[in-house]
């Protein structure tokens, strides 16, 4: 369990993390989502006692990080790619960490095996690819068999097989009752792994909710209908009190409608349907809407910043 209370970090004038309070619970994967520069890594560094908070408090199972005597058995962290000396072998790197926490030497072999680096255990890490680097970082996180795991952008640089592996790993770690806290800037990635979601933007908490709730609340669901007898269908729907919106190419969209209901209506009135499909707007879009105001580094293709343009862009994404 990780508990944050009013956590704040200021660098001079700039507020990187602003009054952040939330709890990361055991047994599930909690996604930590935010655009680049939202303060995710700063928050994680404060959890690990690397950065001192300007204000507020963060506790690991009720203790400050500094109070942990054998921290690797409490919390394992993958912080950033390649946080090690490139001239050291993978085995020796993990051995240094094992020694510092009194972890038996045999664990080094075990975690190297878990992440699939046994074959290169005696190779210097500077020759490692980005994916191998991520795997070594994950091995270091797993070394103490900790109750809490924290991964900062773990899928970065992994190939599809690696991404699948890390997803499965995170879910199985959570299923064993561990606390798993994973940051990402990709909503789609989180939707596949996380059960709970914490969203921040410009250091501020934007959402702290279960993934199911987030999806239900933030994504528009609608039914897409196409018919050669469009006018008749519109009349029938209108009589039934269902509002349909035309969206070009003879497609009707029924917001919040039930596909079954529309199908039955059409069949009662002997209307031919060419398409009847329930749709969900993408989570990526919901995420972008949520964080739109707090994105720090906009890519401006035109000189004037205008909110409506963003909406159009989102719409294009949804229908595309």
């Amino acid at each position: 369990m990780i508990e944050l209370e009013g956590l704040t970090k200021r660098y001079g004038e700039k507020v990187a993390v602003n009054n952040l309070s939330f709890t990361v619970r055991p047994g599930i994967v909690t996604g930590f989502l935010g655009p680049n520069g939202a303060g995710k890594s700063t928050t994680m560094r404060m959890i690990l006692g690397l950065d001192h908070p300007t204000a507020g408090d963060v506790r690991i199972d009720g203790k400050h990080y500094q109070q942990l005597k054998d921290p690797l058995t409490y919390i394992g962290a993958l912080l950033e790619a390649k946080a090690w000396h490139g001239g050291r072998t993978a085995y020796n790197h993990l051995l240094c960490l094992a020694h510092s926490n009194g972890i038996p030497r045999s664990r080094v072999r075990e975690v190297l095996d878990t992440v699939g680096l046994t074959a290169v255990a005696r190779k210097k890490t500077k020759g490692f690819s980005m994916g191998m680097g991520q795997r070594l970082g994950i091995a270091a996180a797993l070394l103490g068999d900790p109750r809490i795991l924290m991964f900062d952008e773990p899928v970065n640089g992994l190939d599809p097989e690696g991404i699948h592996w890390i997803r499965t790993l995170m879910k199985s770690l959570a299923a064993q009752g561990r606390t798993v806290f994973v940051s990402s800037h990709l909503m789609s990635e989180m939707a596949l792994t996380a059960e709970h979601l914490v969203v921040i933007g410009q250091g501020r908490l934007l959402a702290d909710t279960s993934m199911a709730d987030f999806i239900a609340r933030n994504s528009r669901s609608y039914v897409r209908v196409r018919s050669p007898q469009r006018e008749r269908l519109l009349d029938v729907l209108h009589q039934a009190g269902i509002v349909a919106v035309e969206s070009g190419d003879g497609v009707l969209e029924v917001d919040g409608g039930k596909a079954e209901h529309i199908g039955e209506l059409a069949s009662q009135h002997r209307i031919t349907l060419h398409e009847l499909s329930p749709q969900q707007a993408s989570l990526e879009e919901a995420f972008m809407q949520l964080t739109a105001e707090s994105v720090e580094y906009h890519a401006h293709s035109e000189t004037r910043p205008e909110p409506p343009r963003q909406q159009q862009w989102g719409e294009g994404w949804k229908r595309g």
């Binding site: 199972d61 009720g62 058995t73 000396h85 051995l95 103490g144 199985s172 561990r178």
Partner: protein
């Protein structure tokens, strides 16, 4: 570790059946160890022996000390008026002066290189007590530097005494032996320890090495250019307290008659190192990693 596939179908996940703790969750079968300084020292020992820069700096150090020492011995033994009643131990000075650069470099790298590679975050996550990390680094480095310097300096000392025995050199007294081996080794190792503290303060390898080499050379060079009479007192002080002159005091052939003598240089470097460590400890606690 085995990572079994998630078993969601379990009726009651085992981790919920842990009523004692207010913080439920996974319990590892690995025995929990209460860590102490010994663990940090074991970790730092593994670190220092598992990188090539240690082998390079210490290898070059031994090469310089023994190589230059042997050459000096050969040259002096073959020159006609050899040492006229002087102790042959002093011939080891040149090699150790140059070799001390290697110890300085290794000292700086022990702390500063972790900042360059990002390893420092991994280190501090594994051991949140930052003071303990610095202390462990200092202990491991000091022992390595002291032992290597002691062995090299002693080897060269025996070599010189053996080479120049019949050449009119006086045979060194017990006190001279102690200063020329243990004394000089302690001084060089402390100089390295000072570099280690500076590396921790500066957090940049090249910057800290430059500062330390400057500290060794600058006073002598500056003194050389102080022609003015009015500055003679300053010039003499710079000369006498420069690190090369302090090194030579251990061989009782100081470049000047006044200034530090006997074991004074050891206390001077000890004081400087203590001050640097106080600053390094304070900054380490205060700064973000």
């Amino acid at each position: 570790m085995s990572s079994p596939q998630p078993q969601m179908s379990q009726a009651a996940p085992s981790w919920e059946a842990a009523p004692g703790s207010p913080y439920p969750g996974y319990t590892s079968p690995i025995p929990v160890v209460r860590t102490h300084l010994g663990h940090a020292i074991a970790s730092e020992w593994t670190k220092i022996r598992s990188v090539r820069s240690t082998m390079w700096t210490l290898g070059v150090f031994v090469l310089l000390v023994v190589g230059i020492g042997t050459l000096t011995g050969v040259v002096v033994a073959n020159s006609d008026p050899a040492l006229e009643g002087e102790s042959p131990l002093g011939l080891g000075f040149f090699g150790l002066l140059l070799g001390s650069m290697c110890i300085i470099t290794l000292g700086v790298l022990t702390t500063a290189s972790e900042y360059g590679t990002g390893m420092v975050r991994t280190t501090m996550v594994a051991c949140p007590s930052r003071g303990r990390v610095l202390a462990a680094k200092a202990i491991v480095f000091f022992l390595v530097a002291f032992v290597v310097t002691l062995v090299s300096a002693s080897l060269v000392a025996f070599l010189h005494v053996a080479m120049l025995e019949g050449d009119g050199a006086k045979s060194p007294s017990g006190g001279e032996w102690l200063k020329g081996t243990v004394g000089i080794a302690a001084y060089v190792a402390l100089l390295g320890l000072l570099s280690l503290a500076v590396g921790s303060i500066i957090r940049h390898s090249a910057g800290a090495i430059t500062i330390m080499i400057g500290a060794v050379l600058a006073p002598l060079v500056i003194a050389l250019f102080m022609f003015s009479e009015s500055l003679s007192a300053v010039r003499d002080a710079l000369f006498e307290y420069s690190i090369p002159n302090q090194l030579s005091v251990f061989y009782a052939n100081s470049l000047s008659q006044s200034g530090p003598s006997g074991w004074d240089p050891l206390w001077i470097i000890l004081g400087a190192t203590a001050v640097a460590f106080a600053a390094a400890f304070a900054l380490l606690e205060k700064r973000d990693v």
